[in-house]
């Protein structure tokens, strides 16, 4: 009985550890460096249309956690960013890059974005 319990316990620990490892290495596989440039470019284009006053994006990756960005980007709910038309025109590949930029530099990521 004790042996059985030990086996179950070890299996459980192994499963939990495996899941943690998998989830800790999760994240979008886009190009975060490119995403940063594309994100700023979107706002610059938006400012040129007069929809916003400043070309400086109002949201930074460090404004939310990885999980929060995951929810936003997976649901594609970009209202908070403003510049609706510009977001609608971004390709899926560019969206993935921007998502990678936000996710990998979120407030709880190993490398949170600074103001730069």
């Amino acid at each position: 009985m004790f042996k059985k319990s030990m086996v179950v316990l070890i299996s459980l620990i192994f499963t939990i550890v495996s899941f943690s490892v998998v989830f800790s290495s999760e994240g979008p596989a886009g190009n975060d460096r490119k995403g940063k440039y594309t994100y700023r470019k979107v706002y610059k284009a938006c400012a040129e249309t007069g929809e916003i006053e400043s070309a400086t994006p109002k949201l930074s990756p460090a404004d939310k956690t990885m999980e929060q960005w995951k929810t936003i980007f997976e649901a594609k709910t970009f209202e908070e960013f403003g510049c609706k038309d510009n977001w609608a025109a971004i390709s899926d590949s560019d969206i993935l890059d921007i998502y990678s930029y936000f996710y990998h530099h979120a407030s709880d990521s190993p490398t949170p974005a600074t103001c730069k």
Binding site: D32, R33, K34, K36, K41, H105, P110, A113, K116
Partner: protein
């Protein structure tokens, strides 16, 4: 009466026939006279493509010289029979030093096809100089290049033009680690001949895209073998830069140093060890741009770096020089990565642009610690 009419008719017919034969005879005589006249400029010893092909070897034998008598810039540079030496007829007297010392060497002259007299005239002049084994490949370059398995060699100037026009794929057929990684022609990709079958997927999808193969110079066969394989695959515009990388470095020596910038694992990044080596040994061969803010730059940067904060970079991209590779740096790779993508976006024609994907801790006085990004 009837008999008389028949006789008259036969006589008229015969007369007409005679007249006609006379005319033809006269015409034939005239044509043959004209031919004789035309043929007089021709060199008597004419050879065909198969003869030439048996004498095209890599490297070329000392006992054979194939000579392109066409103008250098207008024709030879853009395409010539592999191994051929350029001695334009107009410069024959000035360039006799290029001819072999041994007067028994087989000399094969060619130019732009049957109507081209340059090779014939050159051959005659060579005979006057005492060469005993002179031939003319009268069908010349047009015939050579029209045949399915043949390809042309090109000169270094044409390679540079093709790079500038950005419509050609340049392929370095040398081994990667020992050769390509140490320096290659700008924009060239690496398909070592030994791995051609594995890496041939790197070749362009469009079989009409011009492809140029090169390797380590006139004694190197790798580019020629690769070209033959590309022709087999159906590529229609295959050339070999036979003088290869040694000629490139000789002609564009300064930019050779710049070529040694080597891409890293991440798109756009410079290989870190190579970057460190450049900074330590020849930092003047790259334009190093620190894209951090001015106050950060003031506290310490690379000795040869110039400061253009990423926020102010965009309007200055059009004025960046293109004579050496540009490398962007910051402290994490975030701003330099942004600078890289901005430059590629704003000025696509700038080819040698990189950024340092690493953690850099600037210590002041040009000292720094650099670590690979996690």
């Amino acid at each position: 009466m009837k008999a008389n009419t028949s006789k008259t008719f036969i006589l008229i017919l015969l007369a007409a026939l005679l007249l006609l034969t006379g005319c033809v005879a006269t015409q034939t005589t005239k044509t043959s006279e004209a031919s004789k006249e035309d043929m007089s400029w021709m060199f008597p010893d004419i050879v065909d493509t198969s003869f030439v092909k048996t004498h095209v070897t890599v490297p070329m034998l000392d006992s054979v010289m194939i000579i392109d008598a066409r103008p250098y810039k207008a024709k030879y540079v853009k395409g010539h029979i592999p191994g051929a030496v350029s001695i334009p007829f107009s410069e024959f007297d000035k360039k006799t030093a290029l001819l072999p010392k041994d007067k028994n060497t087989l000399l094969i002259f060619y130019c732009e096809g049957l109507k081209c007299k340059l090779s014939h005239k050159s051959a005659k002049m060579a005979e006057k100089l005492g060469y005993t084994n002179v031939k003319v490949y009268a069908m010349g370059y047009p015939e050579w290049i029209s045949l399915k398995d043949n390809y042309a060699s090109i000169s270094v100037e044409h390679v540079a033009t093709q790079i500038a026009q950005n419509n050609t794929m340049i392929i370095d057929a040398r081994p990667q680690k020992t050769k390509y990684d140490k320096g290659h022609i700008p924009t060239a990709i690496n398909i070592p001949f030994s791995q051609f079958d594995i890496l041939k997927g790197k070749l362009p999808r469009d079989l009409n895209t011009p492809v140029i193969f090169y390797c380590g110079g006139l004694n190197c066969r790798l580019s020629h073998k690769s070209a033959a394989k590309a022709l087999e695959m159906g590529y229609t515009n295959v050339t070999v830069f036979a003088k290869g990388f040694p000629e490139w470095t000789k002609t564009y020596g300064v930019s050779n140093e710049t070529l040694q910038v080597q891409a890293g694992e991440v798109e756009g990044s410079i290989e870190l060890e190579r970057f460190k080596s450049i900074i330590a040994n020849n930092p003047e061969t790259i334009l190093l741009i620190d894209v951090r803010d001015a106050d950060e730059f003031a506290k310490g940067s690379f000795k040869t770096a110039v400061n253009i904060p990423v926020e102010t970079l965009e309007p200055k991209i059009k004025d960046l020089p293109d004579d050496k590779p540009i490398v962007f740096a910051c402290s994490t790779g975030a701003r330099s990565g942004e600078a890289f993508y901005m430059t590629k976006d704003v000025r696509e024609s700038l080819k040698d642009v990189f950024y340092v994907e690493a953690q850099i801790d600037f210590k002041g006085d040009g000292k720094f610690e650099i670590k690979k990004s996690k």
